[in-house]
Structure formats: structure tokens, C-alpha cells
């Protein structure tokens, strides 16, 4: 068994997802971590990494899949995060290797047995994969990072792959808030917030939480697309999820099933999110949220 993990990095820094998927992949065998050269130093200190493969990684999926296919030979498992970049490259790689991939894995039951959600998380499939190689993506939210020191060997590689695709623009959402899919607390808002999304940010700021939104609020142009939580957006698994003015459509719930505690504020006690919430408050969020913040202040809560 030998595992090649594609690190998740952005602007030369590892994202919090990398440590988590390395921890998950380490259950399968010794991990070689393929990383953009800029993040190699950071990568070698991650617990669970056997060797770092540092390269100038291509920015687009076609070239990256080609590179992974070249490197794949000695490995039994090739693993990436089940996020936008991993979802872009893993199926393409699998096709190049003539392998059926197993993606969005939420539990590793053994080297060839995995659990993955289907139907927006309303069912979980246990699959066994008898193929010669296993091409996988893991949901970072389902795995915990291993703590510990490391100083893995770094091997520099210089792959020669070409892309038929050119990146011509990027729009980055600027935020002070923690990364959504690995955050410990998430505060999300639904469509009634309209142009007052700042209220969600206020409460999130108080709690040191990441901010999220429903598709309805994103579609209406009141929150950036990368904050969408759900089947089509980001999957979160915080210790605490606070939903403000969110009905709890099944596609939204798909994104929060891993949350330990769910709290909700809604004017409608019958809203599905209120029905599954551990703590529910029937109230107008525009009145309730400022009062909640005031009480948190009184209690001296600050994270």
C-alpha cells in the first residue's frame, strides 16, 4: 500500500483541508503528499506525511490530471479533497487510468471499503472497490487532523505537462472569517436577510465563526457563491451550526448533516430546520439576533 495525496493549497498556503485528508489517507498507507513548491515547507511539517513531492503544479484540471496519471504508477491509492478543485481533477484522472473513482468519502472502513453519501445525504452507501488502483476524494469535514510534529523528506520534481486551458480571471471573496468547510462554528443566513447579511457576520464575529448562506440568498446576490452551504455548495461539520431564517430544504440540510449541534432562529416553528434543531427559537431574526449578541456580550463570550 502506498498513497499519493494531492494537497489542497491556495496562494501558496495549505488550506485546513490538507491536514484532514492526510490524516484520513494515512489510514490507507504511507502518504506521499504532492504539493505546490511554495507550500513544501509547510507540507513537510504535517503529521502523517511520509514524503513531500514538490512541484510547480499546473493551475488547471486537465494538466493536473495528466501529471497525477504520470505519477500514479507506484501508488495503490490516489486521494484528493472533495472540494471544488478535487472534484474537478479526480474524475478526470480516474478516466485516464480507466478506474471508477469513489468520491466524497465520509468514512474509510478499510483499504478498499468506503462510505459515501448519496441523495443529498439522505442515504449512505458502503462500497467495496476491488480495482487495481483506488482513486478517491475525501470530505475534509469528516476527518480530523492529526496533531504532532514532522519533518518529512522533500523531493522536488519537475513535471512536463501542458494545459489546453488558460486562467484569465479570478474573483476572490475577501473575508476575515475562518474557512467554512473546516470551521468549528458556522453561522448561516437565509433569504429573509436580504441586504442585511452583515447581521450574520456580526454574530459570527462574536463567536469566531465562519459564515455561510443558503442558495436562495446567494442567488439573490446578497452573499458570495463560495459561502453557499449544501448539496451544491460547501459541506460543513462544525461543533455548532447556527441557522438564521433558513427553512431547511433537503438540499441545504445535505451540507450540515455532520454538524454536532444545530441551533435555529425562524419565525416559523414548523420549518424543517427548526424541527431538527437541538435548540430552536421562534422569533423574528432582526429582533432576536441583536438581543442574542447583547446577551453573549453580557456573558463575556468572545472567541
Amino acid at each position: 500500500m502506498a498513497v499519493l495525496v494531492l494537497a489542497d493549497a491556495d496562494l501558496g498556503r495549505l488550506t485546513p483541508a490538507t491536514a484532514r485528508i492526510v490524516a484520513g489517507a494515512a489510514e490507507l498507507g504511507p502518504v506521499d503528499l504532492l504539493v505546490d513548491a511554495a507550500a513544501a515547507e509547510e507540507a513537510r511539517s504535517l503529521a502523517g506525511v511520509h514524503r513531500v513531492l514538490a512541484a510547480a503544479l499546473p493551475a488547471t484540471a486537465d494538466a493536473l490530471a495528466q501529471l497525477l496519471a504520470v505519477l500514479a504508477e507506484p501508488y495503490t491509492h490516489i486521494v484528493a479533497a472533495a472540494n471544488a478543485s478535487g472534484r474537478d481533477v479526480i474524475p478526470r484522472l480516474a478516466a485516464l487510468l480507466d478506474i471508477q473513482p469513489v468520491t466524497d468519502i465520509t468514512a474509510i472502513l478499510g483499504p478498499t471499503r468506503f462510505e459515501r453519501p448519496i441523495y443529498a445525504g439522505n442515504a449512505t452507501e458502503t462500497v467495496s472497490d476491488g480495482q487495481a488502483k483506488h482513486v478517491l476524494s475525501l470530505r475534509a469535514s469528516a476527518f480530523a487532523a492529526t496533531v504532532g510534529e514532522n519533518s518529512a523528506v522533500v523531493s522536488n520534481i519537475s513535471p512536463e505537462v501542458a494545459s489546453a486551458t488558460e486562467v484569465i480571471a479570478e474573483v476572490r471573496t475577501q473575508s476575515e472569517r475562518p474557512e467554512l468547510s473546516t470551521a468549528q462554528i458556522v453561522v448561516s443566513g437565509g433569504i429573509p436577510l436580504g441586504d442585511r447579511f452583515a447581521l450574520v457576520e456580526d454574530l459570527a464575529g462574536k463567536l469566531g465563526a465562519a459564515v455561510g448562506a443558503t442558495r436562495a440568498l446567494v442567488d439573490a446576490g446578497h452573499a458570495p457563491n463560495d459561502l453557499q452551504v449544501g448539496q451544491t455548495g460547501k459541506i460543513v461539520a462544525p461543533d455548532l451550526y447556527v441557522g438564521l431564517g433558513i427553512s431547511g430544504a433537503l438540499q441545504h440540510l445535505a451540507g450540515i448533516q455532520g454538524a454536532k449541534a444545530i441551533f435555529a432562529i425562524n419565525t416559523d416553528a414548523e420549518a424543517p430546520l427548526m424541527k431538527i434543531a437541538d435548540v430552536a427559537l421562534v422569533a423574528d431574526l432582526f429582533e432576536a439576533v441583536p438581543a442574542v449578541i447583547a446577551e453573549l456580550d453580557r456573558l463575556g463570550i468572545k472567541r
Binding site: A95, D129, R172, L207, R215, N225
Partner: protein, 252 residues
């Protein structure tokens, strides 16, 4: 300029499915079926390109049982010109679907293939990327905008940090996200009219493509039940419950 659009028939996205008690799958009997929602955005994008004079033929293709004809009719009613059903009752993995679509692409030679970003039954999010890999074509997944000019596609994608715009030469593969457009609704009269458009059916069995599953699905289980929650009366109590929750958290 020819566009191929792949459309899948799935359990309607609004239905909350139930897992069979014996763990062999989900209940599908007598449920409303419809076109995978992302595929409606893909069809809409193709039709708008045709309406703008940028495409002259749209071929909609679906792989599945005879009943998948209904989603092809929907695509034809939305404005696709021809339909093709690759008929099989077998349960297909995404690699098999991609191989079958490559076969169609080899025959049809489209300039652009549009797919949904994911099918909401298996939530795989594979086929577009796999097809692009098999064909050796550039890909743009999770598209929220598509422009064609001078034999190139410029596609804006929804990614983890925000949005990214890619440019690639045709032929290319694009997978549709929900903010790509607002799909038109088609009434029954339009579906009836679509019945006069060409719709071919071919048996998957005759194509000589290996569709044997690679994975074994051992069991399908329902999600765990959440414990009964409580309703609090005031924002202050809500805040106190948050404080209590934070008190229980382990550092991470």
C-alpha cells in the same frame, strides 16, 4: 456548430427518498421522476446559444431505461433539435456513462458538450470530467457563465475561493451549475409538439462497450436520527445555550 447535451432521468429533486429496509438501495417505485436539475441548466445554456445564432444543432442524449424518453422530450420541448436514447436497464457507474457518451461524441463530433455538474441521485459529480479525460478535451466544470467567440469558450466557474474564468479552444466540455441561467418552463403543449422532433433509440448492448460495474455496493443505510431538540423562549436563553455549547467544545 453542434452542441451535445447529456440529460439524466432521476427521482425528482423535491422528493425526500427513503432507504429500503433491507439495505439494498432506495425506494424508487411510483416516485415522480424528472430531468436532473443541473441538466436543465445545461439544456437552457445550449438553447440560448442556438437562439443567439451561435449554434445550429443541439442533440440531447440520455442513457437509461425506455422511460428516460420523457427527459429527452423535455429537452426537445425546451429547444433541442434531436434526441438520442441509449437504452439499458442496467445500473450504470459513471465510468460506463462517460464511455458511452464518448462513443456518441465520436459519432456526432460536437464542438461543445454540455452536462450537469452532478446528478442528484448518486451525487457523483464525475461524468463531465471523465468524458473530457477520455476525449482529451479541455474542461470547465461548475459553470455560471459561458461565452463563445472565435472557436473558443470563455467560462466562469464557481470555485472554493469565489469565481474563476477559463478560456479554452473548442471542442470542450462544460458542466453547468445552478446559477448559469434560469431554465425555461415547458408546458404540456410544447412537450406534445416536441414529439414530432426526431428521437432515436439505440440499445447499449449493441455498442460493444464494457459497462460491467467496478464497485460493489454492499449496503445502503439511512442517515442517523438526530436527538429530539428543545425550544427556547427568549434570545437570552438562546445565547446562554450557545455559551453552554462553546463550553463543551474541545480545542481544534
Amino acid at each position: 456548430m453542434k452542441i451535445l447535451v447529456a440529460v439524466k432521468r432521476v427521482i425528482d429533486h423535491a422528493i425526500r427518498i427513503r432507504v429500503k429496509p433491507d439495505g439494498t438501495g432506495v425506494e424508487t417505485a411510483n416516485l415522480r421522476m424528472s430531468m436532473n436539475p443541473f441538466d436543465r441548466h445545461a439544456v437552457e445554456a445550449a438553447v440560448r446559444l442556438a437562439e443567439a445564432g451561435q449554434a445550429d444543432e443541439i442533440v440531447a442524449v440520455s442513457i437509461g431505461p425506455k422511460a428516460a424518453t420523457d427527459v429527452l422530450l423535455t429537452a426537445l420541448a425546451m429547444g433541442a433539435h434531436r434526441g438520442l436514447l441509449l437504452e439499458t436497464d442496467a445500473k450504470l457507474e459513471t465510468l460506463a456513462v462517460a464511455k458511452l457518451l464518448r462513443h456518441v461524441a465520436d459519432e456526432e463530433k460536437p464542438d461543445l458538450i454540455l452536462l450537469g455538474k452532478q446528478a442528484v441521485d448518486d451525487d457523483s459529480n464525475h461524468v463531465g470530467q471523465m468524458l473530457a479525460g477520455l476525449l482529451g478535451w479541455p474542461q470547465a466544470t461548475f459553470a455560471s457563465a459561458i461565452e463563445l467567440a472565435d472557436g473558443q469558450a470563455t467560462v466562469t466557474r464557481e470555485v472554493d475561493f469565489g469565481r474563476q474564468t477559463l478560456r479554452m479552444s473548442l471542442p470542450a466540455i462544460v458542466t453547468a451549475d445552478l446559477r448559469l441561467n434560469e431554465p425555461r418552463n415547458v408546458g404540456l403543449p410544447m412537450v406534445m409538439k416536441a414529439k414530432s422532433k426526431p428521437l432515436a433509440t439505440r440499445a447499449v448492448a449493441g455498442l460493444g462497450i464494457d459497462i460491467t460495474p467496478r464497485l460493489v455496493v454492499e449496503t445502503v443505510t439511512p442517515p442517523r436520527e438526530r436527538a429530539q431538540g428543545r425550544v427556547v423562549a427568549t434570545p437570552a436563553e438562546f445565547a446562554q445555550a450557545i455559551a453552554a455549547e462553546i463550553g463543551k467544545m474541545e480545542p481544534r
